[in-house]
Assembly symmetry: C2
Homo-oligomer: 447 residues x 2
């Protein structure tokens, strides 16, 4: 018998592999962070002796969720201003709150709070764009979360840099500092086409290209794209062509491109994205709450685009719960098209796991329960009134479950939450620190 | 000092009264099921000696939610068939499952499971329409839930009656049996205008009228109305006028009328409803999942119509969580109108509490924390990462909270859940019984 770090046994597992395998009476053996065996409980327990065993009765075992777009530290602004006109919201609340309050401390504690919330609702990997991302990386590392983080870059100063040169230097620092980390990956993130000049966009793309030629780790590019109608109009006027065509002109259209939102995508945009292997991240709750519009996701999927799911940040959602996001994604497109068959539950669960991993270029690492992948696994307790009876696991995940049903979370083979107790984060301390920050934030908006 | 049954003390309470009062360091005194005092903690605790005290630290005290439209026993069909065309879903799954399986046992255990789920997500009152409603009333009574229940009536036989005469007789029995009950109220519920003949509609309206003249308890009328586009078209062809005009012809347009869904309401329909004091119940999750459409709720509110919120049944939602429903209601109308200011958080919380109570004609009993009303109160725990920091209670309830955040529920002055432990329902037994029923349901669909 081979000794391994961890064996999880349970009644049922959704693997989210290519065949959507669902296994009963299943066990998963994990060693050195990797899934080394998945199979019938008896077979696995005869083959492996575990240092630690987790028994998942009345539960569902599945890969952790991949939150493909968020701004983690913005938990500090959760609920600060809602139900407002976009420009009122941005100019009178979000921008001043950020300008006056965002610093390393806020970035660190806000990100740690986000990690706590994400783990407690089953997310094991997140892709982040914000300010002082080294602090977000540090928080994720401490929390034991897998992440893909990028400093937001634009032409105007941020609380972290006075010039774009400083912003690019900071990004280079992130790349060097975290290049061998098992959990932290770096993404290059120009904010959007309406906040970045062509020289900046070109320079950061060269940075990504050069790194991709010499390094083996992920160095994708991420940016907000066509989130609302005003942006589409403005960009078409600015470029004299569609935003997606302009992306072609500056060499952005390749498999490394991850575009967030893409609400105003034409059929032609979709064809171009599909032809070039560009990825899309869908953020339905944010698109609804900010009244941005409905992204043509069923059409994107039909066109062959890889689409991941994201919560966006807590100023525009106001939560980081991927189970809520799945529910929203499944229902929004049905009503928008008056067609109850689009975005079926299984499609949406895949979007929140393996398709999200593909969108981030991390599908060899995470997103499904398969031998050779990292052990990013969640266990969802099913013995609850709202999950009874059980006809379909996928339906329950999308239409009935809640983040609070996630009992246990394993990331990179390490148990980070067990029976809803966080093992890597001092929850009370984090909430206390963020409440102190919030007092200052509130004060700053009165000044 | 006066002795009372219960005093709740806490840091913060939303009263949901006409002024949307929010009180800090608050206490509520309850005796014989009634709220007898609401005020500063010191004042109340000096005035009243409590047999039982609940201390709600790090929590929000508020009225329980009013779920204005559901089919409780359909928990037994939760997730049995999703993401299908409406007619495929109804004819090949829901109707056969009902015809083969609905009996007193299913109605009772399904309703008790629904009560468990509703209490655990903060609902204290629900309005139900289904088959064998005497069993639903019995389950609600045992669970300690306030309810307004009505046997569904239509021209064809149901598992409970062969003829409409039997259905009407059953409704009369319900009225007589439950007339003095402190928790159970009866509503008369012809299913819809497309399943009920004019003679049936007229006869049941007379039943309601007669009762209203002689009795003091609630006897409203409820029916599904204009849920989808096909129904609107069909009814206009059938009546040669709009469905709402037809309701006027048969004397339905008064303050006792509660119409469920009303997705396809014209400006004229809204004016007629407003002029006659008719009520509307909005079920956004069901309308999205079944791809029915988006009800013009902001316009209804502007027209002065009282609109309550409902989850609909578990075949079309698939949950009974009013916090999820609030989140859906707030976001759906923003994106449908591309206007982030409609359906603000406070409006939606009112719709889920006091406006819902008004819609059901129960606003003298429940829906807000005011002296003289019944003590239908919930306590929501706020000391959680996803509810940190706290800038706005209303925003948190609508955009960040989850049903699992409800810790304690009091209905009619009785504690029915304390620190998430149900005190009136044997959860394990109920889930076991419904799982047994589900095995038969699954088998019946294979036959």
């Amino acid at each position: 018998m081979r000794e391994v770090d961890l064996v999880i046994t349970g009644e049922k597992a959704l693997l989210l592999d290519a065949k959507n395998t669902c296994l009963d009476r299943v066990a998963i053996a994990i060693n050195a962070g990797n899934i080394i065996a998945v199979g019938p409980t008896e077979q696995i327990t005869q083959q492996y002796r575990a240092k630690k065993t987790i028994t998942a009765n009345d539960s569902l075992i599945m890969p952790g969720f991949v939150n493909c777009h968020t701004h983690a530290a913005m938990t500090c602004f959760r609920g600060i201003a809602d139900d407002l006109e976009l420009m009122d919201w941005l100019n009178n609340y979000i921008f001043p709150a950020e300008a006056k309050n965002v610093n390393k401390e806020l970035a660190y504690w806000g990100s740690l709070l986000a990690a706590a919330e994400m783990i407690k609702s089953g997310t094991t990997t997140f892709c982040d764009m914000y300010i002082f991302e080294d602090e977000t990386a540090r928080a994720a590392k401490e929390a034991g979360m897998r992440c893909l983080v990028g400093e937001v870059l634009f032409d105007f100063p941020s609380p972290n840099f006075k010039t774009t040169a400083e912003g690019i230097a900071y990004t280079k620092m992130l790349i060097e500092k975290w290049k061998d980390d098992p959990l932290v990956n770096i993404i290059i993130e120009p904010h959007s086409l309406y906040t970045c000049s062509t020289p900046l966009l070109t320079e950061v793309k060269e940075l990504a290209e050069a790194k991709r030629l010499t390094e083996d780790y992920h160095l994708p590019m991420g940016l907000h794209l066509l989130e609302n109608a005003a942006e589409k109009k403005q960009l078409e006027e600015k470029f004299g062509k569609s935003a997606v065509s302009f992306l072609g002109d500056i060499g952005y259209l390749d498999e490394q491109l991850i575009a967030f939102h893409c609400v105003y995508f034409s059929d032609k945009d979709m064809k171009i994205f599909a032809d070039h292997g560009c990825k899309v991240v869908h953020n339905p709750a944010s698109n609804m709450k900010l009244a941005s519009g409905v992204a043509p996701v069923p059409e994107m999927l039909k066109a062959g685009i890889t689409v991941g799911l994201g919560t966006d940040g807590c100023a525009s959602n106001n939560n980081l719960d991927m189970i809520k996001e799945m529910s929203t994604a499944a229902k929004l497109h049905k009503v928008a098209r008056l067609d109850p068959t689009v975005m079926d539950a299984q499609t949406v669960v895949r979007m929140a796991t393996i398709e999200g991993a593909k969108a981030l270029g991390m599908e060899r690492t995470t997103g499904s329960l398969e031998i050779g992948k990292k052990a990013d696994i969640i266990i969802i307790g099913l013995n609850k009134p709202h999950l009874t009876p059980l006809y379909s696991e996928y339906s329950h995940l999308v239409y009935a479950a809640s983040g609070a049903d996630v009992d246990t979370v394993i990331i990179n083979g390490k148990v980070v939450m067990e029976n809803r107790r966080l093992l890597t984060i001092n929850e009370e301390e984090v909430m206390h620190k963020v409440r102190e920050i919030a007092v200052k934030v509130k004060q700053s908006l009165r000044e």
